[in-house]
Amino acid sequence: MIELLVNSVSIPMVAFLIVSLIMFFAGVFGFLTRKNLIMILISVELILNAVDINFAVFNRYLFPEQMEGLFFALFGIAIAACETAVAIAIIINIYRRFGNVEVDNVNKLKG
């Protein structure tokens, strides 16, 4: 069954990696350039999801008889959900304090 699955997939692994690479750097770019905190959060999610894809792909292609990579991907999704909840809470607090969610305004901890 597993053999069948592996053989039936004709998409090469590198294609998946390119997708995840694009997602990753799109996330990094968004993280560095976006000023809105919500957008930055979305960028971080992009990076995380790129990593999740990598987990799944490497597991599927390199060690098809094992499941660790998939579990790690699930784990990462759970972490991302928690992280998003915390980040949203912080962003709401920042909004209450500063009246907006522009990241440039949040520099009160500067030395």
Binding site: V28, F31, L32, T33, I40, V103, D104, V106, N107, K108, L109, K110, G111
Partner: protein
């Protein structure tokens, strides 16, 4: 004689009590308390003297006794610093001198200092001084002497600066302290050298006549002299500082800024003779092992005596005249010690020096207290503002005259006997020095009677505000009368029976040749002064205009103070201290400041990284990661 410890403890307690309660005690209470305490001390001193001179003579030689001696600091197997009391003829004599003069000054100050601000402070300092001076004279070892030596210096400083709101008094007290302290540095070095080689501080061992302990000090030479010579010379420098020998005399005339009774006690009778006492104390070492230093002391003393006598002739401030006279008389004592031998009749110089110390303390205290009485009456130190005072102040006039006759060396006053012995001893040593000192004696009589006539005779006293001078109260005249009495009789004390170099008795013979010379010299000087100053005339001013350069130089004390100022300010401060200060400020501090500046500059430059913008951090982080990755790949 265990009670001698109270001679030290009573003034100390008086100092502490009056000092601590100064604000709570009434003026009068403090003064009377101090005076009573000192009366007891004086009586104890007389008792000590009586008991010592009657019981401590064995085989015709006075023994040295130590009623009390306590090891205080242990510094090794042999070396330890003790605190205690040692009685021998000179220390007992000094006890009498110090306590008598101090008591007179205490009584006198009740009148003189009446109503002054800080009256209690004044009395507590007087007690401190008495305590220190007593401790100095009875010291059992040279280190205890040094401790009390510094204490008298401090009390002198405190009392000169008593009127601390007056800038001159503050400057004078600083000058006195710094100059004597500078000399004491050499004293300390001398003590350390001496004790390093002899392994003892104790006078008893040093004086024992056992030459063995000096062998190592004599054997070691340094710059052409044995170490012992150096040590003894350095110790004398300390003594010269306290006793105002040239060129360390500059502090004494300025010390006259203090209250006049203080000048009488400290700067005429007791503290300034500490140097003479020191040389007398160490006399067996000087005479036995370093006679060349002793001769040096004689020449320093002779020069100082002449030098200050010349200055005294032209001074116009009466206290300054007395100050230079004190320096000159101490010069006499130093000369006498310097020319003295040790045993039997050779010890005449030593005996006469101590005798002169005794009589000089009495009549010089009398002169100062008399001067105080005059200043009290006319409110000025300048002799040109006085004149004709004999009618207003008969007691002061008479006692002052007695003191003047005594210091001039007219028999039967005490100064004649002691000065005559000094001159005899000097003539025995060398004729040249004898003639030199006779000339000084001539000057002495002249300037004293110039002073006397200018104060009590001369032009009539004229006050600018209708103030009429009056005789001082009984508290001030009693000490004058008492000291005048002492001056009258002290010459007849058979001093040779009590205080001699080898502590054995000998009978004083007046050398009539020397006596005739000295009396006639004194009388000529007095007659000269009478002719010049008794009635107002213009001869003195003519002489002044004829000898203008010399007069001006002497009036300005031969510019010794200016030379000191030049050396300290222009050479030491400008030439040495300022470059060092520049080096410290610019090189040492500059290096430290430079380090701080570099750190600061770097911090300012890299502070920009801490923008507080998380995105910026992430950007830098990313770049860094990429950089490291590239490096990792390429290498």
């Amino acid at each position: 004689m265990e009670y001698t410890i109270y001679i030290l403890l009573l003034p100390l307690f008086t100092f502490i009590i009056i000092g601590l309660l100064s604000n709570k005690l009434h003026h009068k209470t403090a003064g009377i308390f101090g005076t009573i305490s000192l009366t007891i001390v004086t009586l104890l001193s007389y008792m000590t003297a009586f008991e010592y001179f009657t019981t401590q003579k064995i085989n015709g030689v006075y023994q040295t006794v130590q009623p009390f001696n306590q090891i205080w600091l242990n510094m090794g197997a042999n070396l330890h610093i003790d605190l205690g009391i040692m009685l021998d003829p000179i220390s007992v004599m000094m006890l009498i001198v110090v306590s008598t003069v101090s008591l007179m000054v205490h009584i006198y100050s009740l009148g003189y200092m009446k109503g002054e601000v800080g009256f209690q402070r004044y009395y507590s300092f007087l007690s401190l001084f008495t305590f220190s001076m007593m401790g100095l004279v009875v010291a059992t070892n040279i280190f205890q002497m040094y401790i009390f030596w510094e204490l008298v210096g401090v009390s002198s400083y405190l009392l000169i600066g008593f009127y601390y709101t007056k800038p001159e008094a503050v400057a004078a007290s600083k000058k006195a302290f710094i100059v004597t302290r500078f000399a004491d540095l050499f004293f300390l070095i001398g003590i350390l050298i001496l004790s390093f080689f002899t392994q003892t501080f104790d006078f008893g061992i040093l004086m024992s006549g056992d030459g063995g302990i000096f062998n190592s000090a004599i054997g070691t030479t340094f710059m052409g002299g044995s170490v012992l010579t150096w040590a003894m010379a350095l110790i004398f420098v300390g003594g010269a500082g306290k006793s105002a020998m040239f060129p360390l005399h500059i502090w004494l005339p300025d010390a006259m800024e203090g209250p006049t009774p203080v000048s009488a006690l400290i700067h005429a009778a007791t503290m300034v003779v500490a140097g003479v006492f020191l040389v007398a104390r160490l006399f067996p070492i000087y005479i036995g092992f370093t006679p060349e230093v002793l001769h040096g002391i004689a020449y320093v003393g002779a020069f100082t005596a002449m030098f200050s006598a010349i200055i005294a002739i032209v001074q116009t401030d009466i206290k300054r005249v007395l100050a230079f006279s004190t320096i000159s008389q101490i010069g006499f004592m130093m000369v006498a010690l310097g020319v003295s031998g040790y045993e039997g009749h050779n010890g005449l110089g030593y005996m006469s020096s101590m005798f002169h110390l005794f009589t000089h303390a009495m009549f010089k205290a009398l002169l100062f207290l008399g001067a105080g009485s005059i200043i009290h009456a006319v409110h000025s130190n300048e002799m040109y503002q006085m004149g004709g005072l004999r009618k207003y102040m008969p007691i002061t006039h008479l006692t002052f005259l007695i003191a003047c006759l005594s210091i001039s060396g007219i028999p039967p006053f005490s100064g004649f006997f002691s000065k005559d012995e000094i001159l005899t001893a000097t003539f025995n040593f060398s004729n040249g020095l004898g003639i030199w000192m006779t000339v000084v004696a001539f000057f002495t009589a002249f300037y004293m009677f110039r002073l006397y006539y200018n104060i009590f005779w001369g032009k009539e006293y004229k006050s600018n505000n209708g103030h009429i001078p009056h005789e001082s109260p009984i508290s001030m005249t009693f000490p004058l009368i008492f000291l005048a009495g002492v001056t009258l009789v002290a010459g007849f004390i058979p001093f040779g029976k009590f205080v001699t170099a080898d502590k054995a008795e000998y009978i004083i013979h007046l050398d009539w040749t020397v006596a005739t010379i000295s009396i006639s010299v004194a009388i000529i000087a007095i007659l000269l002064a009478t002719a010049l100053y008794r009635k107002p005339n213009n001869i003195p001013s003519k002489i002044v205009s004829k000898t203008k350069g010399l007069y001006k130089a002497a009036y300005n004390r031969f510019y010794i103070d200016e030379i000191y100022l030049f050396i300290t300010k222009s050479i030491i401060f400008k030439g040495i201290s300022q470059p060092f200060a520049w080096f410290d400020r610019h090189i040492i501090d500059g290096a430290m400041n430079g380090l701080a500046w570099i750190t600061n500059w770097t911090s300012v430059k890299i502070r920009g990284f801490q923008s507080g913008q998380v995105q910026w951090y992430a950007y830098v982080f990313l770049l860094g990661t990429l950089l490291i990755t590239i490096l990792a790949i390429t290498i």
